[in-house]
Subunit: 448 residues, 2 copies
């Protein structure tokens, strides 16, 4: 009998693992259980569907269920929820509309993802109040916008989703109020990026309510207003994006260990405390390249990469899932904002470093060349070793330059080494010293 | 008496060194001799002046001579040519319009740059035949175009200068014929980039004559035609850009040793065979990060960086000039083309590697996100060690992604390590797997 690789969850991690394993070892039986109806979809594209840049949710699907089944010979079953894992018997219990059944496995991947956090807000069940983490939610928001033509929106939470949805809803002529509990939006990007983005959001008509806690929503059947610190603001639609929480209950009740972040603990191969149970994607931890410690940064590349590596490992070709640097990038109207590694001084101190930072602004092209924009870069390094710890940047062009900084983190470079990198220069593309090099140069001076 | 730092040549390397040395040690006397009248100028911007994107040559000057003298307290003397170096006496002989004089030095930097190669073409002295390496030449071309309104141009040489000048002259409605002796334009970028650029040049109306040797120019006083392989093509203007040669005669006759490339040999601090004589910029060699061997890649960042490091070293803070990766980027109409490290398989073999390469095409943004363009990437690695050796890319967006590859070379990463880099993803900026990661993934598969 063939070995069986069972995958729980049919999105980035799960489908990457299933595809890779089947390609490497065609005799392996690969079974994927997905409790919803969508698989292999780009959740990150949902705000652009709501905005109207993407005309159909189907466009967000990388590979259809049919193609997984027919072209890749993967036994993909949607609307199948795994309700129990028995590590001793090496079986999972699966529920579908007809009942439950058991499926045995030789290797198991938990790719259960994460869920949008739903705070205990009064009135969160009202019509017109949404989270946006599942494809069906994007569909519902789009439909509500078309049908109800809301004039005022309340966005709760100033993370990626909040910022992207502010842009998406503004594109429909909706006046957007964005409520953030903390002092700044985009908290993981650091203060310089945050204040630049905030100014830009205001310029584009978004009303920011920082350090403002939403307590609930009111309305008859549909939302009519949002309650904040005793005040009431009218709102015809609300989107709650206050973060995600890893879906770990299924694994945890089977004895799979969680790590310090609350996500599933894994080793460098994505293996859990059970030899043949792996975890990857938004439900799992990964090792942070700067701190060396487990971290939980639920992003698409991490999920895809870990899934793919596990797909190789279960075909007897052990492949590390790779470290993460917490690299992220977000569009806020005309701005690109990005971050990687440790950006927060306090967090760097907690990780045992003595952080020194600089912030510089430099043009993305030669000063005399038309176009281009100012890029503001913050770099953080350890005073004792000169090692680069992280960075962030923001500007109307060139936000992908964060990749140079991420590469430096993976290479454990010092600021001096980064400063000496031979990056590309020609007037239409960069000043002689790329802004990243300029930032490194200035930080290096401060470290002397 | 104060120590004296004498700098020969007032462009990138020289002025960077002078500025840094004076800033670090204000009591140092810093004297710069520049034989021309321009200092600290962006030679790379000249094609954009001819094109009309830059309206005045003054815009290409980063810092004026007055500011160097007044704000930075540097004794900068233009129209002063150093005609002799005496390493024993530690003096240089300087000629200006009034005669010659001697200047003693404690530290000397040779930053004599490079000159455009002028092949022994018949008729190269005709009016309307130009090289473009000096600011005065850019001025002369611009004037000739305005005054003579040429209809047909002959560009000799398909390197950066040739490709950039094709765009610049086309912008004036001039029909451009580009003559390249070799099989392809942009030879250091490899065949994939070259053929993509060639197709694009043709689409934009440039007539390419590949594997075609120019023998000379004919005309009464001004150029009227270009002679190639026995044929005659009409041409009202010609620009010869067949490469540069390092200006080493002054140094060589003083006993400064040249390296295998013909440029001045230097150690990791930019020091020549004389303890207190340094060389940097287009006249000097630098160490290639992949081969570990001396190389000569005369580009602006290398010059600036080495100059700055030498400015630190002569103030008793020894600073390596840093390795080069041969990173370069060029705009050809709507395309960006870039390269870094070893791109040519033959050269990789000569350096002792067993090269394996892949070429992939991938979009610069999520497939469903509007805009974006196809980026074609070639990566080269060593079969035995998996070490990345170099790469090239070409596309209408995202050419600065070459920096991620350059960073991997500086870090001496394997292809597997590059593939596992946590690069930034969001739909407006990249697919989940950045095209560089996709290329690494495919190459990694080929290396297994």
């Amino acid at each position: 009998m063939n070995d069986t690789f069972v995958v729980i969850g049919g999105d980035a991690a799960g489908m990457s693992a299933a595809s890779k394993a089947k390609r490497e070892r065609p005799d392996l039986d690969v079974v994927v259980f997905e409790r919803g109806s969508w698989v292999s979809y780009a959740a990150c594209g949902m705000p652009y569907y709501v905005k109207g840049d993407v005309t159909s949710l189907d466009e967000l699907v990388t590979i259809t269920p049919e193609r997984f089944r027919e072209e890749r010979d993967i036994d993909l079953r949607t609307s199948h929820e795994v309700v129990d894992i028995d590590p001793e018997d090496e079986t999972v219990t699966v529920a579908n509309e007809e009942g439950t059944f058991e499926q045995s496995y030789d290797y198991l991947l938990v790719g259960t993802g994460a869920s949008a956090i739903e705070p205990p807000f009064e009135g969160i069940e009202l019509d017109g109040v949404f989270t946006i983490h599942q494809m069906d939610e994007a569909d519902a928001i789009e439909a509500y916008v078309s049908e109800q033509s809301p004039e005022t929106a309340a966005i709760v939470g100033g993370g990626y989703v909040g910022v992207e949805m502010a842009e998406a809803l503004s594109a429909h002529g909706i006046t957007v109020h964005l409520f953030e509990m903390l002092e700044h939006v985009l908290q993981p990007f650091g203060e310089t990026v945050a204040t630049t983005v905030e100014d830009h959001l205001r310029e584009r008509g978004v009303v920011l309510h920082l350090e403002t806690s939403v307590s609930g929503f009111t309305g008859e059947n549909a939302i009519e207003s949002v309650e904040v610190d005793g005040e009431t603001h009218p709102a015809d639609i609300a989107v709650v994006g206050v973060g995600v929480t890893p879906n770990v209950d299924l694994a945890a009740k089977a004895g799979v260990e969680l790590g310090p972040t609350g996500a599933i603990a894994t080793d460098e191969y994505g293996r859990t405390n059970f030899e043949n149970i792996y975890a990857a994607g938004d439900c799992a931890e990964a090792r942070h390249v700067v701190t060396g410690e487990p971290d939980h940064v639920p992003l698409a590349l991490t999920a895809n990469r870990a899934g793919r590596a596990i797909g190789q490992t279960v075909t007897d070709s052990p492949t590390p899932v790779g470290d993460i640097a917490g690299t992220a990038i977000v569009k806020a109207f005309d701005l690109g904002a990005a971050r990687t590694g440790l950006v927060d001084e306090k967090r760097a101190q907690e990780a045992g470093f003595d952080p020194v930072s600089v912030t510089i602004s430099a043009p993305t092209r030669a000063h005399y060349y038309p176009g281009g924009a100012e890029l503001t870069i913050t770099l953080l390094a350890d005073r004792n070793t000169g090692r680069l710890l992280g960075g962030s940047l923001v500007g109307q062009e060139g936000a992908k330059r964060i990749d140079s900084i991420a590469m430096a983190l993976h290479a454990e470079m010092t600021v001096t080494e980064l400063q000496n990198a031979d990056l590309a220069y020609a007037p239409p593309f960069s000043p002689v010293w790329d802004p990243v090099l300029t930032a490194a140069k200035v930080l290096d001076g401060k470290l002397d």
